[in-house]
Amino acid sequence: MSNSPELVDAPSFSDCFHCGLPVPDGAHYPIQFEQQTKQACCRGCQAVAQTIIDSGQGAYYTHRTVLPATPREAEAELAQLGLYDLPEIQESFVRVEAENIREAALILENIVCAACIWLNERHIAGLPGVLSVEINYATRRARVRWDNSRIQLSAILKAVSDIGYIAHPFDPGRSDDIYKRERNTAIKRLAIAGLGMMQVMMYALPSYTATDMTDDIRLLMRWASLILTIPVVLYSAWPFFIGAWRDLKRRTLGMDVPVALGVGTAFVASVYATFFGHGEVYYDSVTMFIFLLLTGRFLEMNARRRAGAAVEELVKLIPAATTRLPNWPARDEEQVPVARLVVGDHVLVRPGETLPADGVVIDGDSAVSEAMLTGESLPVSKTIHSKVVGGSLNQASPLVVRVEKLGADTRLASIVRLLDRAQSEKPRIGQLADRAAAWFVGLLLLITVLVGVIWYVVDPSKVLWIVVSILVVTCPCALGLATPAALTTATGRLTRLGLLTTRGHALETLARATDLVFDKTGTLTLGRLSVRRVITLNGRSEEEVSALAAALEAGSEHPIAKALRQDRAEGERLAAYPSRVLREAAASTLTASQIRNTPGRGVEGTIGEQVYRLGAPRFAAPDHTPPEVADGASWVALAEGSELIAWFALADTPRADAPAALAALKAQGLRLHLLSGDAEGAVKTTAQQLGITDWHAGALPEDKLAYVKALQQQGRIVAMVGDGINDAPVLAGAQVSIAMGEGADVAQAAADMVMLGSRLATLADGVALARKTQHIIRQNLGWALGYNLIAIPAAAFGHVTPWLAGIGMSVSSLLVVLNALRLSDYKPSPIAAVPAPPTPLTAPR
C-alpha cells in the first residue's frame, strides 16, 4: 500500500510489535524477540509474529520499511457486533456533515453488472433514515448518507448482506484484495467452462458427422457430455442463476433472467433426452455459450477496472506511513501510520515521498509536484508558509509540514468525493436507458413465448433452440452499460488533465454549450503585474533604463519590483510579456547600493556615481505628469538625480496560455464573453488582447445574472467560468458552471466542474472530451439498440444458433465498454504556454 523508503523504527512498547496498532488495555499476547518480550495487539498478530520469528525470519522486523496492513483479528466480527457504529471506528471512513448526518464510503463485493448496482441502490435507498445512496458502477464504491438518529451504519451493512452482497468500509488495499479474489473466481469459472466446452465439442462433432455410429456409443458420448456439462452449469454458470433468482425475488427483471432461463431450458431438455433416449441434446451449445458469456464478463471486468482506475489512483496517493517529528522543533523522528496523525502534528517529508495530508510548510524549501492533483506538469516551488496538499510529491529537498487537514477533510478526499458523485449520478440519457433496459427484458420474455408458440405450430423440433437463442442473444446489459462506462472513463481522464467533474450532468451540458462566459477578469489574467511598455526620455535606451530599474529592485518582493525585475525563472514561467530587454537587464552586472525603500512610494539607491529614484510619479518625478492614462495600466517613474529618464507602464497580465486556449475554444464554435466587475480600462484591454468581443465592465452580480439569463432566453446554452466561491449565484444561473479551483477549497466550490490547475487550455480539453463523450454514448446506445433490433428477429426466424447467440451477446456488451475506453486515450490539446506577442498600447518614442 505504501512505499515509504524509510525504515520503520521498532514501534514503541504500547504499540503492537507486529502491526504497529496500539495494544488494547488488558490484552496480553507476548512475543519473544531477541531475548526481549514484546506485546502484540491480538492473537492474530501474535501468531504471525511468532511464526516469523520461529522460522528464523526475525530480521524482517529490523529491516521492514512499512508496517503491514494487517487487519486486526477482531475486524472480521466488527460488523456483526455493531462496532462499526462506534465513532472511533467510523472516524477513518465516515464524514460527519451535520449533527446527525453521516456520509460513508463503502465498497461492495459481488457486483457483476449494472443491474446489481441498481438493485443495491433501490434497496439501500428504501431503508428508513437513509438520505441518499450513490454507487459507482466502475469502482463498486458506494456513497451512503444517512441520518444517524434514525438508522445505524451496521443496519445498512446488514441490509446489503441481506440481498446477497457484502459492504465494507472503503479502503484501497481491501478494494485490491476484493478485486483479486473476484478475478481468481472468474478465472476458475472460465477454466472449467473452457475445458468442458472443448471436451463436449469433441463428443459432439462425431455425432454430427459420423454415419456409422452405433447407438450404444452415441449414448455413451451423451452421458460423458452430461458429466462434463454438470460442473459447467452448476459451477461456471452459477452467478447467472444466483443473479436471476435475486431478480425474481425482488420482482424485477435483470439481464440474468433470460440467460439463466436459456441455459436452464437447454440443459434440462438435454438431460431429459439423455435419460429417456428421445429428443436432441444441446450440451455443446450450453457449454459454449456459458464459456463465451464468461469470457465476455471477464474482459468487461478488466475493462471496467481500467475505466475506474482514475479514482483508485487518487485514493492510493496518500501513503500509509509517514515520519512524525513528535517534539518539533527537536528533530527526533518516529514512523507512524498516517491514520494516527492528528491536526497540528509535524511531519517530515523527504524528497521522493508523498505528502500524507494537507498542511503548511514550517521548514525547508523545495519543489513539489502536484501533477496528479492538478494536471500541472511543472513542479511548484514551496517554502516556509506555503500551503501544501496531501498526495503531492516532494521532489527536491526535505520539508517539515504542520498538518492542518487530515483524511476526509483533505483536498484530495474532496476531489475523490466529488468525482465519485459525478460518476455515480446518471444524466438524463442514462436514466432513460436504464428504464428502457428494464422494460426490454419484460418485452423480450413476452416475445420469446410468442415465438415459441408459433414455432411449436410450424416445426416443433426447432422450438427449443430457437427459444434459447432468443433468450441468450438479446443484450439489455449493453443498454445499461452504454452511458456509465463512457462517463466514468471520460471524467477519470478529465480529472487527470486537471478538470474535475462534480456533477453527473456536467459533461452532457458542456458538450452542448454554445456560449462560454468568463465571470471575472481574474479567470483570464495572472493577477500579477508586468511591464507593458517603457517610455524613455532624454535619449536613454530601453536596455539601459530597464537594467537600472532591475538593479534598484533587486532585493524587493513587491509585485511592482517583481514585474520590473522579471528574473529569469519568473519571466519564463509567469509572464506573458517577458521583455527580452528586461530579462537581459536582470542578468546584467549592475548592482545598486544604499538602497532605501519608502513603503508605498518607491525605492532610492546608488548605482555607480548616481543616485536613482524609482517609484510612484509623485515620489520619483514630482514635477512631471505621467503620459496619457493608459488602459488599466499604472505608471512608475525612474529618475536619475532630479532628471526623469523613463516611464514604465505596468498592468495585469493575461495568463500565458490564454490566447491559445481561447482561440481553441473559439475554434470549437463557442462564443466567448467576459463579464467583469473591474474598471472599464483593464477589462477592455484584456478583452481586446484575447480577442473577446462581448465584454462588459463594472458588472454587478445582478448584471451578470441578467446577462446570462438574457443569453439563455435566446436559446443559448451557457457555460460559466468563475472562481466558484463568491460568485455562486451567478455560476448557479448558468447551465453548467466551471470554477477555477486553484488554491481554493474544492469542496466549497459550488460548481459543476472545477479546474484543479491553472491551465486554461483544460477548458478546451473539457469541451472537446465532453463532445466526444456524447458522441460515444450515442454510438453505444445506437449499437445496443441496433444490435438487439437485428438479433431478435434473426433469432426468432431461426437463423441464430445458441452458441452464436452467446458470442453475439458477449461481443455486444464488450464493444460498448471498449468503445468507452477509447476516451481514456484522449490526448490533451497541444496548447503550450506560448507567450502572446505584446500588444503595443500606443508606442510613441
Binding site: A59, T62, H63, K180, R183, N184, I187, K188, A191, I192, L195, G196, Q199, M202, Y203, M213, T214, I217, L220, M221, A224, I227, L228, P231
Partner: protein, 63 residues
C-alpha cells in the same frame, strides 16, 4: 469402435486432471500477474553477486 468404450472414460479422467491443475494454478497465484513476469524475464539483474571463493562476511549485528 469398442475401443471408444475405454477412450471416452479415459478422456473424462484426463479432463478431470487438467481441471484440477487449472484450479491449482489459479489458487497458487499463477494468474495473479499476467504482465509482470513477461517484463521481469528481460530485466537485467544488476545486483552484484559475491565472488564464490571468498568467504561471506559475517552478518553485522543489526542496529
Amino acid at each position: 469402435m469398442d475401443i471408444l468404450i475405454l477412450l471416452i472414460p479415459l478422456s473424462l479422467a484426463i479432463v478431470g486432471v487438467i481441471a484440477w491443475i487449472m484450479l491449482w494454478a489459479t489458487k497458487s497465484g499463477q494468474f495473479d500477474d499476467l504482465e509482470g513476469p513477461a517484463h521481469s524475464v528481460i530485466m537485467d539483474d544488476d545486483t552484484p553477486h559475491p565472488p564464490r571463493d571468498t568467504p561471506q562476511d559475517k552478518p553485522t549485528p543489526l542496529p
